[in-house]
Assembly symmetry: C2
Homo-oligomer: 342 residues x 2
């Protein structure tokens, strides 16, 4: 029989995990009857409460580290919650570490390994290129998420795992969708630097879609974002500059939803209607994309599934029931309200 | 002379911190001339690169813990960055810990104290009420941010610090602003539970403003949010239910910007124009409030200053140059486009 978790207790009682937790922790804001029902089920099942704080008490608790590059990127927050839940179910402790923009996440991982209880590492975001030597120095298995490409020359794909979507292919899909709506002058808001990254793959998809459909690339419609690619302000500023350039375009494809929401605001300020005057597309399928006015046409990454699969894969490698693997999930083209036929 | 930091190196070179870091870490994506200039200044000043990863190498590095309740709350992300920078300048290491919704953050703090290098704790978010006994067990000083009220009976205010705005007063200010625009039927979207919290203080401000202006409270216009008070979906769902209730209102005041942005989307779907048909107000003054269509009328919390002051205060207490203090910042009424005169 598999071990009982707080999630299962919650299911059996027909309540949320937080309610079970309030019962366990003697919080006052819980209905006494609900509490009794929960405590009865806990007694029945022999469940032992096991939250992260309690885990830390056991000095022998094994742990998993999650290294997050770019904490302001709201794309990762729901993924962290999924990883936490999976790690907790396995009774491991979770160590979360924010990697600064100027830090190399593999350097940070090498430091974290001094923690003897560490059994594995999951990377959320970060660079798509690393030093093979450094990766080889890591003694625990690592899983990169959201990065599907080879991360180093001279490094066998048997020495690390990746769980991601195919960014070039999904980006191609979005641009082909815009072309199918009649757009030819499609601007793209993308990363400025030449560093290999998932964002570069999205640009590759854009270029390939134009090529396939015989549309000549207009370099002036490739708009690099100055700095961070996940801020509303950069989406806003870059769109304003595009509008002011006078270059003709009928669609703007932004390689993140956050940039696209900034773009919507810039168009509104310029009196340009979306989608009547210009179509806008995003990428990621974050929650925000479903609440903007208009809702975004975007590529939805299955972020929860990626996080869940990455954690499961890591534990399988730790348990030696799996070798390193490279798992690619399909993205989903979401047709919102921000792009229309011309 | 004060010690040279990476921030000062960046200033002297006229570049960003990340550029200095790229120079130090031998990254390839940096202009060779810029790199040379930076390395020259580093040599001149005798600056010793000191990022968090390096800090960890020194097993004697002292550290500060930041406990964040609700990582999906984008309000805290910029605050974390400010704390990180301040902590780094002091050459301390930063330990960040996400506190689950069902965990008590002081319990988590007590666990973290087993880390011998810990010198102080900053709480971002969380409950406004704690057990005096538990707080007294903490051996390092603690600073609560965004919570300005007394956090425990039987606990002297000399045993903990708070840095915050006055939530009741700021909320009063917002509701009085709506009243000054001619609104009387003002709905409020607020937290469901009766737990003492900063959100309760915002409700108090609402009730006091109505009272002062002789407006009778309509209980049906006090709309509790089911679960999390910082999700777009809950803002959307609660607004839909309010619209469907048929209750008359001319303004909706949401106690967080995230809820308000969800409300904007719900009104758009119902064909109700903001602000022509109904006024909407938020609270927090997050970045998103400046990019929604329409821009939000909101109360801006000086989040950066709160984070900066909290960190400075904590270090002053650690250095024994300050006792515990309770610092209250003013909030700012931002008149966006979402509320108008009727």
């Amino acid at each position: 029989m598999s071990e009982i978790t707080i999630v299962e207790i919650a299911k059996r009682c027909g309540v949320g995990v937080s309610t079970v937790s309030r019962a366990i922790n003697n919080h006052s804001d819980i209905n006494p009857e609900t509490k009794k029902r929960i405590m009865d089920v806990i007694k029945e099942t022999g469940y032992i409460p096991n939250n992260s704080a309690r885990n830390l008490k056991r000095t022998d608790a094994k742990c998993i580290a999650v290294l997050v590059k770019g904490i302001t990127n709201s794309f990762f927050a729901p993924m962290i919650e999924v990883v936490e839940q999976e790690v907790e179910e396995r009774k491991y402790a979770l160590v979360m570490r924010h990697v600064e923009a100027y830090e190399d996440e593999v350097d940070v991982a090498l430091e974290l390994e001094k923690e003897k209880r560490l059994r594995g590492i999951i990377f959320l975001g970060g660079s798509a290129r690393h030093s093979a030597d450094k990766i080889k120095q890591l003694r625990v298995p690592v899983v990169f998420t959201t990065i599907g490409s080879d991360i180093a020359d001279d490094l066998s794909r048997n020495e690390y795992s990746t769980v991601s979507i195919d960014d070039a292919k999904e980006s191609f899909k979005m641009v082909e969708h815009l072309i199918s709506l009649g757009h030819k002058d499609i601007a793209i808001m993308t990363e400025g630097s030449d560093t290999p990254s998932i964002v570069r793959l999205r640009l590759t998809g854009y270029l390939e879609a134009l090529k396939k459909h015989g549309i000549k690339v207009n370099e002036k419609l490739i708009r690099p974002v100055d700095k961070k690619i996940y801020t509303l302000q950069n989406g806003y500023d870059t769109t304003r500059a595009l509008i002011e350039s006078g270059e003709k375009f009928t669609a703007l494809y932004c390689i993140s939803d956050v940039l696209a929401v900034g773009a919507l605001r810039a168009f509104a300020d310029a009196g340009i209607r979306v989608p009547e005057d210009v179509s806008v597309a995003g990428y990621d399928g974050q929650e925000l994309s479903r609440y903007s006015v208009p809702r975004l046409t975007t590529i939805k990454q299955p972020a929860d599934e990626i996080a869940k699969e990455a954690t499961k894969l890591l534990f399988n490698i730790i348990d030696k029931v799996s070798d390193h693997r490279h798992i690619v999930f399909p993205g989903e083209l979401i047709q919102g309200e921000s792009a229309k036929k011309i």
